[in-house]
Amino acid sequence: MEATEAAHGEHHTSLGVDNRMLLMWIFLASECLFFGSLISTYLIYKGESLVRPLPDDVFDIPLTSLSTFVLLVSSFTMVLAVYAAHHNFPKMMKLSLLSTILLGLVFLGFQVYEFRLFGSEGLNLSTNQFGASFFVLTGFHGVHVGVGVLYLGSMLIGSMRRNGLGPSGGLYMEIAGLYWHFVDIVWIVIFTVIYLIP
């Protein structure tokens, strides 16, 4: 097992961390600043809207709590997928991966519904500073979830090939998991800072 791993590209590295794993970690540091800037914009424009609707007029906390819960559960299924990949349970891995993807899609469905609901209540990009900063922030988070769904979807398709994801499959899953958990954590921050704190 050791020998095959060495033969398949898990090269020796100076730090002992795989290159791709390190790349993802540093990339996520960059992403922190990306979302940090978007959240800062939202907070700076809090109270600067000249017309309604304001957050209190449109937010539906129980609904968003539900979609937040869906995303949280997807993190749990992602953990299962990584575990299964490492311990060579291909069936369990595919099942958990599929659930993660579906939960991600459900979250996106909630978001589309929420955006349309807010739109019907008169909030859009041009309405006021709340609309602009809210839609751009949560929209970009949604894009990240969407990219994650594509990412995990590609992994799922890849794992269905004859030799699956290959000998580094566990590592690949772990890196994908890192991304997915990060996107979830960002949502927890958004939900707390934007929905819950009045």
């Binding site: 100076s14 730090l15 290159n19 914009t41």
Partner: protein
């Protein structure tokens, strides 16, 4: 699959256009960065020449106000993003693996992708001259100058989309390089044995990784304001133009260190070699570089003193800005300490390196001056600032790059640039640069504002403007001398040995130019100056085994394809969204192809 076999280290493969388009070799990619960067450097210089010609005499009529605004905006954007940054990236691409004893960067295909995305963004931004006018709101694009009312043309859209694409390229390159520095070092190459150039570039990479996302958000907001009805920066709708300034400068102040740190690294390599002694205070210079990087994130509001920040923020940003002079000063003392007592060998590379210290110090000192808000309110938006930035960016960054070019040229091509022409180049550039930019201090102090396209005769600005224009033509002449030198040298026979300067760093342990696989045998590092250590301890270079099978990553066309897709994404936003959709399809398809492509 490219496999280097046998004992001939210099098997020159046939190079065709296709090998360059699909290459993943860091040396070829570095060369492409270098050539493109230099071409854009010439373009930006040409823009500057038109500007100087316009300003040579009062009421100049070479260009109108509108074109003038485009020229100074594009001069800055082109120099910064398409000239100096890629030239730094060129050296880093070429020498990072060589200097740390690796065979390539961590992600060769990602490296190629960074280049193609850069080229797409650069062409897109420059093409704005043809398609309805270049950006004209300054490189800072302050709101409300950047909104639809005051910039009705497409220029600012080209600006935003172009910079977003270029930012993506820089981010990918920085991630790749950072991982490479951390993970691909040769045995014995600990972090505190890294060449200073590598350390400075590592700081640069982290500056980019942490500041690019901030400008990305600002640019996205600008795109939304201009195209998708938001009002982030429209005061009448509750928007705040100052927010743009904050986001912009949180990125753009670190950006000036992105421009200067590579050159600081280069002179830190050149000075010890031609002083024949190790760099004085290695640890101090490394920590000073890191300190500059960290502090660089805490000073951005010194660009905004005149917006009325309030007393406390002014004090804080004054203090942090002045504090950043300390690590900078440490570096200057280190360089002088390196020269002190050395047996100095004055060749062209050394001329540039030593003049870097002097010119950069002048720019640094005028920089500390406007760290003080009362002084700054006098100097803001005057030619004093223009003088300052050009001492830092021309006297610093560009001069440092030329030092590196003369120093590393034999390693990259096997040929030495001509010393006599080199010294003519140097003196023309050194004198020309001082004649151009030093008088701008006087112009600024006598009240000449920046970014005016002309001025009246009796304001007392004629003499120094004329002098500055003469200087700029000297600069142009110096570049012509350099180009003559370059093309003449390239026709000569390659004569360079492995280590013609008797330099201490690993890139000189392999042939000049290096073989495709960089090193026949990965070197072992025993000291901070490995080749000097081996020389002094009589350690012979390890002979390559008679049979070598070195795996090199195979060429790939997916980086080029993704680069094309990313370009289409941008073009689509500027023209028709169908192109964006096509771009998305190409990108997704190519990423799949990329993932499934065998790399072993």
């Amino acid at each position: 699959m490219a496999t280097a076999t046998g004992t001939l280290p210099q098997v020159q493969e046939e190079t065709t256009i296709w090998t360059w388009l699909t290459t993943v070799d860091h040396k070829k990619i570095g060369t492409m960065y270098g050539i493109s960067g230099f071409a854009f450097f010439l373009l930006a210089g040409l823009e500057a020449l038109i500007i100087r010609t316009q300003l040579a005499v009062p009421n100049g009529a070479v260009v109108d106000a509108d074109r003038y605004n485009q020229l100074f905006t594009m001069h800055a954007l082109t120099m910064i993003f398409l000239g100096i940054m890629p030239l730094g990236a060129a050296f880093f691409n070429y020498f990072l693996p060589l200097m740390i004893g690796a065979r390539d960067v961590a992600f060769p295909r990602l490296n190629a992708l960074s280049y193609w995305v850069f080229l797409g963004g650069a062409l897109l931004l420059t093409s704005s001259f043809i398609f309805g006018g270049a950006p004209d709101g300054g490189w800072f694009a302050y709101a409300p100058l950047s909104d639809e009312e005051f910039s009705p043309g497409a220029g600012l859209d080209f600006y935003a989309i172009g910079l977003l694409i270029l930012g993506t390229s820089s981010l990918m390159a920085s991630l790749n390089f950072a991982v490479t520095v951390f993970n691909m070092r040769a045995p014995g190459m600990s972090m505190m044995r890294l060449p200073v150039f590598i350390w400075m570039m590592l700081v640069v990479n982290f500056l980019l990784i942490l500041s690019l996302p901030v400008i990305t958000v600002a640019l996205v907001q600008l795109v939304f304001d201009r195209n998708f009805t938001t009002n982030f920066f429209t005061p009448a709708e509750g928007g705040d133009p100052i927010l743009w300034q904050h986001l912009f400068w949180v990125f753009a102040h670190p950006e000036v260190y992105v421009l200067i740190l590579p050159s600081m690294g280069i002179v830190s390599e050149v000075l010890p070699v031609f002083s024949r002694k190790p760099l004085f205070g290695y640890a101090a210079i490394v920590f000073a570089g890191v300190a500059i990087g960290v502090l660089g994130f805490a000073v951005w509001s010194h660009h905004m003193f005149t917006t009325g920040l309030g007393t406390v923020p002014q004090i804080v940003f004054t203090a942090s800005t002045m504090a950043i002079a300390v690590p900078t000063g440490i570096k200057i003392f280190n360089w002088m300490g390196t020269l002190y007592g050395g047996s100095i060998h004055f060749n062209t590379a050394m001329y540039f390196a030593v003049s870097f210290i002097a010119l950069f110090t002048i720019g640094g000192i005028s920089g500390v001056m406007h760290a003080s808000p009362p002084v700054d309110s006098q100097q803001q938006d005057t030619y004093f600032i223009v003088a300052h930035i050009h001492y830092v960016l021309f006297g610093g960054a560009i001069v440092g790059i030329f030092s590196g070019l003369y120093y590393w040229f034999p390693k990259m091509t096997g040929r030495f640039l001509d010393e006599r022409l080199g010294k003519i180049h140097f003196w023309l550039m050194f004198i020309g640069m001082n004649i151009t930019f030093f008088p701008m201090h006087f112009l600024g102090l006598s009240g000449m504002p920046r970014r005016i396209y002309t001025y009246d005769a009796d304001l007392g600005w004629e003499t120094w403007n004329m002098v500055a224009t003469i200087g700029s033509y000297m600069l142009a002449l110096s570049i012509i001398v350099f180009l003559v030198n370059f093309f003449w040298t390239m026709r000569k026979e390659p004569t360079a040995t492995d280590n013609p300067w008797d330099a201490p760093t690993l890139e000189w342990a392999t042939s000049s130019p290096p073989p495709e696989h960089d090193f026949d045998v990965i070197p072992e590092v025993r000291d901070r100056d490995p080749l000097w250590y081996d020389r002094d301890h009589g350690i012979e270079k390890v002979e390559p085994p008679s049979e070598m099978h070195i795996h090199l990553p195979p060429p790939s066309y997916f980086p080029l394809l993704i680069g094309l897709g990313v370009l289409l994404l941008g073009v689509g936003v500027l023209s028709h969204l169908a192109l964006t959709a096509l771009g998305v399809v190409i990108v997704i398809y190519s990423i799949w192809g990329w993932a499934l492509e065998p790399t072993e």
